[in-house]
Symmetry: C2
Subunit: 205 residues, 2 copies
């Protein structure tokens, strides 16, 4: 066992254990889902004993809730990135769609998180709502405000249009990556991006 040298602060303290447990829990729950994850495997992945897990979290459900809430906080605003939405619609919307798609397609953790939340949304409805409140809602609001600000687009309902934009992108990743459709129903991201920006930008009548 590695131990802190004399004079150094021992960092193997309780708070660190909690972090290690949450990290182990993340690896297991994201890969295997809630029911198929065992507390033994969580403890093993975290490098602590099972009793230690139970000393920090009431039970499996409590650990799961704590993990999901932590992940949702971490991902707050992450789909859009922190790019400010200012400038010409054609440029801004293209970049937005392109960035969001790239982020989601290349982020295996995001995809596993979606699988987990949707799969458990019947058993844990409040956790699905945590996701909605911390990720989906802010994204819709940000895009909605931008669309409303560009009056030349003449969009009658910016919020509904923001949902169309985000829904198209998220659902594309859902079918192509999460549900493994890209091999049997392929489509280049750019085609979706082109069609989306065309619909929104060229639609001012």
């Amino acid at each position: 066992m590695v131990r802190a040298k004399v004079g150094e602060i021992d960092r193997s303290n309780s708070a660190d254990k909690v972090e290690k447990i949450l990290l182990g829990a993340m690896q297991q729950f994201l890969v295997h889902g809630y029911a198929a994850t065992s507390m033994d495997k969580v403890a093993e992945a975290a490098g602590v004993s099972k009793a230690t897990v139970y000393s920090h979290f009431q039970d499996k459900e409590g650990l799961f809730r704590a993990l999901i809430e932590k992940l949702a906080r971490k991902r707050f605003h992450s789909i859009l990135g922190t790019q400010g939405l200012v400038g010409e619609p054609y440029i801004v919307l293209r970049r937005l769609a392109k960035t969001a798609l790239e982020q989601m397609v290349n982020d295996q953790e995001y995809q596993a998180f979606e699988r987990l939340l949707i799969g458990e949304s019947a058993r844990f409805p409040e956790l699905a709502q945590v996701f909605i409140l911390s990720i989906a809602k802010p994204a819709i609001e940000t895009i909605s405000k931008y669309l409303a600000s560009r009056t030349e687009l003449k969009i009658p309902d910016p919020e509904a249009t923001a949902r169309i934009l985000i829904g198209s992108l998220v659902h594309f990743v859902m079918t192509q990556e999460i549900m493994h459709g890209k091999d049997i129903m392929p489509m280049e991201s750019d085609r979706l991006i082109d069609a989306l920006t065309h619909l929104i930008v060229n639609c001012a009548d």
Copy 2:
């Protein structure tokens, strides 16, 4: 035990048992997910013994695969219904969007099916692909062909546009119903339908 009268054919035969088992399996898997469903509960829900379940299906995985394939076949073309896509775009697209949304919102079995497939899409990628091939792909193709046939819409990429349309609708149901967002982030279906038809129909420049 109810038994067939003399002269009648005994319908409690093997084929019926298979049906009963699949029905019980459906109830359990759709509600609890794959891992949290036990073969005991399946047998109980089906009204047969566990050994009978194992005499018709190799193991839990085999039963699950058989069930998903059956459900996917049953739902072939179900989202769009069997409505023919002919007529004025404004009318056709509105009716299409309205019907699809109503179907999905009111069909708890569809929502449970989506939860299950997405939740298990890492463990059972081929089953997610069965869903794509039997439901998503035909829907995209049908709408894509319709959009291409209406040349007055001047849609540069009908297939990409079809994906935008379907993605918006499915994702709307995903956030509002499946992930329980309707209470914390409400929006009338009609606003989405209006915004969608406006984008697609009024966009011919």
